[in-house]
Amino acid sequence: MKEETYIRIENVTKSFGGFKAIDQVSLDIPQGTFTTLLGPSGCGKTTLLRLIAGFYEADSGTIWIGGKKVNGIPPYKRNTPLVFQEYALFPHMSIAENITYGLKMNKTPREKIKAKLKEMLEIFDLENLGQRLPKQLSGGQQQRVAFARALIMGQKILLLDEPLSNLDAKLRVEVRNELRSIQKRLGITAVYVTHDQDEALSMSDLVAVFDKGSIQQIGTPREVYFRPNSRFVAGFVGTANFLEGKVVDSTAEKIVVKYQEFVLYLNNDNAAQKGDKVTLVLRPECLSIDKEEHSKIGPRNTMKGKITESSFWGRVMRYWVEVGNIQLIVDDSNPAYHGDFQGEVQIILDPGKIHVFKNITLPKTLPNDENLSLGNYQETTF
């Protein structure tokens, strides 16, 4: 991917009172991509979006849109249509009036407005609702009006502030796909704010993971999921087990990591060297589980443990397995009506799916080597 940068954020800082909402953030958003700002609430992702839209002015740093510096330009001159989390439809205007408001105000000829309105109503399946008031529509319909009102402006950019958070789970998945295909078709540069990792991974070309006002990692969905650069990213994007071990042997391709009594043979993605302390990120679905006596692979890359708890989720069966003095989360993605695992089991690690990073970015707040009783960091998933 070698697209041209359309939105460039350069060392932007924004404080509210004494609170730094955005701290020295830089981000290049390529033209025509779908970029997601992902992070927990209060991490600064919405602030950055509002800085782009001009509702806030940066304290320092520069924002460029389409090669033009936009600092100091008021929101109504920025041409950055935004879809609000709570839709912000004008309650006293009909759906048609809502959608065409921006065009009417910039004196677009009436015929053109009419044609564009028709097109929008069609795209968003609102054909017979033009004369209704927002409150007469369902949440999903209101959401589509909000999209239409922003898209009708015909700008090359679309900002979205958690637009799906007020929809129910099923509808959210549908709108997600719809939105992505519209964005691709129109070639719009979309900046999407969400705290929902599923949304971020499924829709984006690029994900920027935020925490405490800074970007922790920028990458494709696969990169941030399989190659997280920190515990925070690994834990926030999906569920992860962490093991902290020591490299006892290494080559350019392979490393051997010792963790407690277990010896693991892994790929060397991060140029780890003998003696390095490393953190292993084990996704629950990248581990497999088997009865102890069925073990075929032998001792290599297996760990013995005992199931302490399990939970049936439909498409997966989740197990909590005690291994040494920590607990690992393991998902069996092929559960059956009968035959849950119980008691003593062994866990098999697939070296190709285990991510290793060196312990340099370890935040202070996380447990160190001695007290690893809580070996995983879990955020809501599924």
Partner: protein
């Protein structure tokens, strides 16, 4: 620093804020200063040492205590019955709680005289007794009936926001009816009860019309201030008494504002499922119903007797039907015209100016906001008597001499009504999320057109409701205007007072009936227009 930079880039906003602030200071703060500083310090000492005035202050305090207590109790009973009980005639009860608010402040006193006075319908012709109705007992009754609706409005809105689910939760945990009421329901009502009591207390303290008519020799601060100025011409004593009234009034106001007044505007999401309230004991239910009914009948009696008096030939002597009083009133077209004109202009200006102030405070985050906010609500703390006196003293000389003009009447009533309109506009603005405006800006529409296209239409309802309440208050106002009117600018309430003082009950009753009819017509029209759009008027 940032703020000043921001305002520099918005010179129109800066100028508007400065202008609004100066106008408010000039018409609110300046009269205050004028009254307080008019008497010399030694005059303060002389007046405060005089036992007559000391007694008047004590009497005022006494009335505040007993009338507030009775108002709050009646208000609580009404609110509980209307919010929580499944009884008939609720519509009537609601209407009853609205009546005194839209009526002239002395209406209950006037009916009370018509019923129990020397020529009273009940005293003279039914019970055949002569009682001295002038004094604190009569005033207590009259103030309770007049001011309980103010307490009711606050208690009602608090009570209504308490979900019955909380009580079900208490029952579910094994609590009895009484302990649920005592431990769950009442504590949740307490802010409303406190706020309602303060509303009643402020009104009782500043009450002018009722004591003037029936307090007799029972001296109170507002009436004495008036007597000193108009009767004796002693401006210093009047100013001191008014100031003595202002101090507790401000105190009550500040308590209300910063202690119990921190109400949150909860928007109804429609998601929460609220269960119907649990049924109470039959005895309690019908006992409360009977009480409310009794009070309602008394209040209907108050208005009924006025109506009757308007068409009786000579009250107390000849009860036969006559148009005489009505004809007399309609000949007083000038006063009625003045009332309408001043009330309309003052409420319109108040609503417009208050909208501007509310917009500045709610939407433009500048540090002057707290000052603007305080000044906008301050007139609500100032008793009408004080405001009237203040305008009379401050604007009878340069730089702005307006004594006896229509302008002074309109401006005084306008500022008297600013808090009402300001609260309405503020509540309206708070209900419109910032993002609605931002959405308009985001679509390329500048701030001015956004204000015009988005905010103004959405604020129309709160604007009209503020305007309506102000109109009703202005047309029935006595305390402010009594210090300011001239022969050319006399209004209906002044004429009614004159008729009462001359013992012309029939004329007074007829005049009041006409005034109340105008008020109700205005209210009816607005309610009708709201209803047509499927909304209800919030008063």
């Amino acid at each position: 620093m940032l703020e000043i930079n921001r305002l520099k880039s918005e010179p129109v906003l800066l100028l508007t804020i400065m202008a609004a602030l100066s106008i408010t200071v000039f018409f609110v703060v300046w009269p205050l200063i004028k009254v307080i500083t008019f008497p010399k310090p030694q005059e303060y000492l002389r007046v405060l040492a005089d036992s007559i005035w000391y007694q008047a202050a004590l009497n005022s305090l006494f009335m505040v205590v007993i009338s507030t207590a009775s108002c709050t109790l009646v208000a609580f009973l009404f609110a509980y019955t209307i919010v929580r009980l499944d009884v008939p005639l609720k519509g009537l009860f609601r209407f009853i709680t609205l009546l005194p608010i839209v009526s002239p402040p002395f209406i209950v006193a006037l009916s009370y005289i018509l019923l129990f006075g020397g020529q009273g319908l009940i005293a003279k012709y039914i019970l055949h007794i002569t009682i001295d109705i002038y004094g604190w007992r009569g005033l207590w009754f009259v103030q309770t009936v007049t001011f309980f609706p103010y307490a009711y409005a606050v208690i009602y809105s608090t009570m209504q926001s308490i979900p019955a689910n909380l009580e079900y939760a208490a029952y579910n945990l094994g609590a009895s009816r009484w302990s649920t009421f005592k431990d769950v329901f009442f504590p949740l009502c307490r802010p409303g009860v406190a706020g309602g009591a303060l509303m009643a207390a402020m009104n009782v303290l500043a009450d002018f019309g009722n004591p003037l008519m029936i307090a007799g020799n029972f001296r109170l601060l507002p009436t004495e201030a008036y007597m000193q100025m108009i009767g004796v011409g002693d401006l210093s004593t009047a100013a001191i008494l008014a100031t003595a009234l202002l101090v507790p009034a401000l105190g009550l106001f500040l308590i209300n504002r910063y202690w119990v007044g921190q109400r949150s505007y909860v928007t109804i999401t429609g998601k929460e499922i609220s269960l119907p309230p649990m049924k109470v004991l039959l005895l309690v239910k019908w006992g409360l119903f009977a009480l409310c009914l009794l009070i309602s009948i008394v209040i209907i009696g108050v208005y009924g007797v006025l109506f009757y008096g308007s068409f009786a030939k000579l009250w107390g002597y000849d009860w036969s039907f006559s148009w005489g009083n009505m004809v007399y009133v309609l000949n007083k077209g000038k006063e009625i015209g003045n009332s309408l004109k001043f009330a309309f202009l003052s409420s319109l200006f108040a609503a417009l100016f208050a909208l501007l102030l509310a917009y500045i405070v709610q939407r433009k985050q500048v540090g002057l906001n707290r000052v603007v906010d305080f000044l906008a609500i301050l007139p609500g703390a100032i008793p009408g008597v004080f405001l009237g006196l203040g305008f009379a003293m401050a604007f009878n000389e340069k730089p702005l001499a307006m004594t006896g003009t229509s302008a002074i009447m309109v401006i005084a009533l306008m500022f008297w009504n600013i808090p009402t309109c300001y609260s309405a506009s503020t509540a309206g603005l708070q209900q419109i999320g910032n993002s609605v405006e931002e959405a308009s800006l985001n679509l390329g529409v500048g701030p001015f057109r956004t204000f015009k296209n988005i905010l103004l239409p959405l604020l129309r309802d709160s604007f009209v409701s503020g305007l309506t309440v102000s109109f009703l208050r202005s047309i029935t106002c006595l305390s402010v205007v009594i210090f300011l009117y001239s022969a050319q600018t006399a209004v209906s309430t002044i004429s009614i007072l004159g008729l009462v003082q001359n013992g012309e009950w029939g004329g007074a009753a007829a005049f009041t009936t006409v005034l109340v009819s105008i008020a109700f017509t205005a209210l009816g029209v607005v309610c009708f227009l709201f209803k047509k759009q499927g909304k209800s008027l919030e008063i």
